[in-house]
Amino acid sequence: MKVKITALALLMAALLLASGPAFADGSTLQGDQVAQFSDFDEVWSDSGHEVDQDAPKGPLVHDPLENWNRIWFYYNDAFYWGVAKPVAEAYAWAVPEPPRKCVRNFFTNLWAPVRFVNNILQGKFDAAYMEFSKFLANTSWGLLGVFDVTEGRPRNWMPERPTADGMGQTLGKAGIGHGVYLVWPFIGPSSIRETVGWVSDSYMDPITYGDFTFVEFMVIRGYKNLNQLSLELRGNEYETLTEGAIDPYTALRDAYIRYRAKKVQE
């Protein structure tokens, strides 16, 4: 069952990847095209690198499926406010913060293989080594990762760059573009590249190999996300971004693509 689902997801991703260029044709975003007169010319990029003024200014991301994506965006938004947030608030009210942090630590530790493999693929060997030693320490002394025994400890050295966050980032570093912007139900903003990355990451997630039915698997994933949300109820980026937006769909798409671009750059 599980294998079938992942195979199906992979097939869909491959299909989308192949059809990406066909969808992408002719759709442009207005975003960066105002930079015509000197006041709008940027000296440095958002991350502080010199901007090449002659470089062609293309669209931020192709979004030929915008109408379809919008449906799922509004669906997810309603789900967030109507279900996810109230449930997370109730959960946060019932369960104190320390045990919820333990749950988060457990899942973070379980995700270590994903970070380790992607660090290796991105050539961040120092970060890979750090992930490996953290995984050993937290799995043993931290009782299967429930406690993060390495947090806040002084270290002899730190990896030069932040640790990898997944295959989507690795593919981006390899020079692969997003292809087409996609919004998945419940998962949220994504793209062809990030979807392929997400599916690959799932193969490295130990939970995938547990003896679970599909429903159990979804419940575990859902609980992981709910627990995460319960720790991010204050000063939540999603809320700030969409509440302050006059077109929340466009705001989230722009923020998502720029945030991923920054991740790929570091």
Partner: protein, 219 residues
Amino acid sequence: MTGKHAKCFRPGLILTQALCFLVLTCATVLAGPATGPTDRVKQGADELIQILKGPHFQNPAQHDEAIAILREAAEKYIDFEEVTKLTVGRKWLDMPEAQHKEITEAFIKLLERTYLKRIPTYNNEKVNYKKELLKGNRAMVLTEIVSGDKTISVNFRLKVIENQWMIYDVVAEGVSLVKNYRSQFAQILQDGTPDDLIARIRDRVKELDAKGDDETDKL
């Protein structure tokens, strides 16, 4: 001897010296603002933190007053008209002065209700100033805000306006405030007029106010 000495008091020389002095003074004034970009960002951050620690923020009943104080302080460091101009883009040039004022005011209200209200949730954070980039009248200050085990990269874009460095864009984790709103404004301006855009912003502010009142009722 006397001749040589007298030469020093030639009116021409005094005039030249005076001119030199004047030019030099002017040059230092023209050379730019007294406070550098990083120090301006620092001053602004410190001032906002001081206000957040103040008595108005301990009492929810004084919330509106607190927001007014925050806005006044923010306006010393952030040029909101420049923010709005860059967000609107090219169409700004076709808009009359009155409309510039209207849209800037509407946009400030939106930012105020979204961002200023949320600042108090970010408490006890430490700001690391990493780098300052400078070119002519433009600058960028790269910082890192550390709160607990989380580090957020925040970069500020500044510009000299009326001989002072003013912030006109904030880039949080790679997401530029100006560009994020520009992508939204562009779509509305493409299909409609600037008045439509102003109306959209005002509607959003009204919605946020209504929502805010509900939340206060709940508390």
